[in-house]
């Protein structure tokens, strides 16, 4: 049978089975539409997690901290005798799995920060953390400003997370203007070292230093200020710290595969070790599971529509027994008959899934617009709910066509190869 004849017969069947085929199309349409919508939602969640969370958690880094001393239920995370000193840095640097060791030192004295915002002065007790310039600043456009330069205002890096929280939660609730990074960069602020609203460092007189906000970072401590490491080391000495210990070392491994091994090795030496890998893994697994659940839900709808399709073809094949037998007696091969049915079901799958995907796209865009508008603003509020993947769309179309052909295939084969004598009489 040539293509012209095949198309002629298919066209005739579509005319004749209009009602049933519309029923089949409708269910395929609904199913693929939902499938695409759910899958796009899953992919949307995934890109949100990747963009907002995983990108802030570099998975080849390990943070080593000294174990907190636990004295009668009060824990101190002081850098006293942490053992994280330059010798330790050298030791870690000699490991072949470790590419780079960065240092972090927390201020061991109370701090109060204040500055002028809009018209009035605002202040807050804060944490000051010193970071290796290379660690915090590399790749940032304020890289060359994050340096230890005595006599100049201390370069301060603020947390972009804090800014987001301020804008989405605090500013709107208190009728304050929203602020962009640009609004804040370059502003002066003052650091009261040695005292805050709760306590004062004993034996040492407080010190007031001037600082300037040079930029924002994801890594930077949320409720505090990040400054170049050297400042904190210097100030800690001024406030009585004898040994030059660090509060944390950040190890960058050469390959993420080494993380687990290095973590367990360091844990055995009595340090507290954090790596993003575990968290990243857990988040990745979680998003995968989520996508999986949404996908299964969508596939369930597709499954139902396929049952419908199979039932429709079962009826059709049953009604066409005589016609199939006649066609066979007039020269149709088993393959001809199967091709006819296969083309019909494939066309149903194609038309249904294309329409379904288009409507899923339109519907989710509309839903996205209204849902996002209806949601109150909050920190890390997503800008979109759905991520549309052309590959996913193509896979759904191809998959639907294949399933539409495979599901009723045994019915087709049975019909095509059934004994014509039975139905010709």
């Amino acid at each position: 049978m040539d293509n012209t004849s095949l198309l002629y017969l298919v066209k005739r069947d579509f005319k004749r089975e209009r009602k049933r085929f519309i029923g089949a199309l409708w269910s395929i349409f609904i199913a693929t539409s939902l499938l695409f919508l759910l899958l796009s939602l899953g992919l949307g969640i995934r890109s949100y997690v990747i963009e907002k969370i995983l990108s802030r958690l570099p998975s080849n880094q390990i943070i080593v901290r000294s174990k907190p001393l636990d004295l009668m239920g009060v824990s101190f995370s002081s850098s006293k005798s942490s053992g994280l000193n330059n010798n330790k840095v050298k030791e870690y640097e000699s490991w072949k799995e470790i590419k780079k060791v960065y240092k972090q030192a927390d201020a061991a004295f109370p701090v109060h920060v204040y500055g002028k915002l809009i018209k009035s002065y605002y202040g807050s007790d804060a944490i000051i953390v010193g970071y290796d310039s290379e660690y915090l600043a590399s790749g940032q456009d304020w890289e060359d400003k994050f340096k230890y330069e005595p006599g100049k205002p201390v370069p301060v890096v603020a947390s972009s997370t804090l800014l987001e929280i301020y804008n989405e939660a605090f500013a709107s609730a208190n009728n304050l203007p929203r602020l962009t990074e640009k609004d804040i960069i370059g502003r002066e602020l003052f650091l009261d070292l040695g005292k805050n609203s709760l306590r004062r460092a004993e034996d040492y007189s407080p010190l007031n230093v001037k600082g300037v906000i040079i930029g924002f970072s994801n890594i930077s401590t949320i409720f505090g200020a990040s400054v170049p490491l050297e400042y904190v080391l210097k100030w800690n000495k001024m406030f009585g710290m004898k040994d030059n210990n660090y509060s944390a070392l950040i190890l960058e491994v050469t390959k993420p595969e080494y993380v687990d091994e290095v973590v367990s090795r360091i844990k055995d030496t009595g340090y507290r070790v954090e790596s993003n890998l575990e968290l990243s893994r857990r988040l990745t697994t979680l998003t995968r599971v989520m996508i999986g659940i949404l996908l299964i839900l969508g596939l369930l709808f597709l499954f139902l529509s396929l049952i419908n399709l199979v039932n429709i073809f079962r009826l059709i094949v049953n009604e066409r027994k005589r016609e199939v037998a006649l066609f066979r007696s007039l020269g149709a091969s088993i393959k001809d008959i199967i091709s006819l049915f296969v083309l019909e079901s494939a066309l149903l799958g194609l038309a249904g899934s294309i329409a379904g995907i288009l409507s899923g796209l339109v519907f989710s865009l509309i839903a996205q617009k209204y849902l996002l508008a209806a949601l109150p603003s909050f920190p890390f509020k997503p800008l979109y709910l759905f991520t549309f993947s052309p590959l996913a769309a193509l896979l759904i179309i191809a998959g639907t066509i294949v399933l539409c052909v495979i599901s009723p295939f045994s019915i087709f084969v049975k019909s095509a190869s059934s004994d014509p004598a039975k139905h010709l009489g």
Partner: protein, 226 residues
């Protein structure tokens, strides 16, 4: 032209033929009678390549049908043999013309639509149904329907016509006409190689007019006289 050798056939447990043998050497009109349910239609389907015997050989025009695959058997049904049925088996949703053209749909020859349409024109004129081509089968008389079915069977110019009680549903007037058509087809001098009309019938009269008369019974096939 046709040779059956030691045919055994059954529908699951229902044995129809045991060691059936037959040879039809020359082109002729051959009639087949036998009680209802004895297996006459089954016999035609075996020769028409719609059924395969459990054992034995069906050789038609030198071709052993058991050895053919489905495609070449389909081709054989499409071009070498033509089927005519008691119940016509026209498709109600197709016009007379479309019904007649069905074998062309399944044709694997390069011959195009033009040739098929030409052949159709000739056939409907010969069968005197040229005015009916755009009508649907349910508006036709029994005789007209059977003539449509004959045109369909002859579209691809077969050498063998297998007719399963072709007049079983017709009045005597139409029966006469249809028989004349079939006989004329078989006797047609213009056909290069001889034609074979193998016709199952209940009617003793019709059977009697055949060149060769066969009877199918529980004991198998045998030639009958008179």
């Amino acid at each position: 032209m046709i040779e059956l050798k030691g045919i055994n056939f059954s529908y699951s447990a229902n044995r129809i033929f045991s060691n059936l043998n037959l040879e039809i050497k020359e082109s002729c009109i051959c009639s087949l009678v036998g009680r209802s349910g004895i297996g006459k239609s089954t016999f035609l389907y075996l020769i028409g390549g719609l059924l395969k015997p459990e054992s034995g050989e069906v050789v038609v025009l030198g071709k052993n049908l058991d050895k053919e695959n489905d495609i070449s058997l389909s081709n054989y049904r499409n071009t070498t043999v033509g089927f005519i049925f008691q119940h016509f088996h026209l498709i109600d949703t197709l016009t007379v013309k479309e019904n007649i053209l069905i074998p062309h749909l399944f044709s694997r020859k390069a011959a195009g639509k033009e040739a098929a349409l030409e052949r159709l024109d000739m056939l409907v004129r010969e069968l005197k149904i040229e005015d009916l081509v755009d009508r649907y089968p349910d508006s036709l008389s029994g005789g007209e329907r059977q003539r449509t079915a004959i045109a369909r069977a002859l579209l691809n110019n077969p050498q063998i016509l297998l007719a399963d009680e072709p007049t079983g549903n017709l009045d005597s007037d139409s029966t006469e006409k249809i028989l004349n058509i079939l006989h004329a087809w078989q006797k047609d001098e213009t056909s290069k190689s001889g034609r074979l009309l193998l016709m199952v019938t209940h009617d003793k009269n019709i059977a009697g007019k055949a060149d060769r008369k066969l009877e199918l019974s529980e004991d198998g096939l045998r030639d009958i006289d008179g």
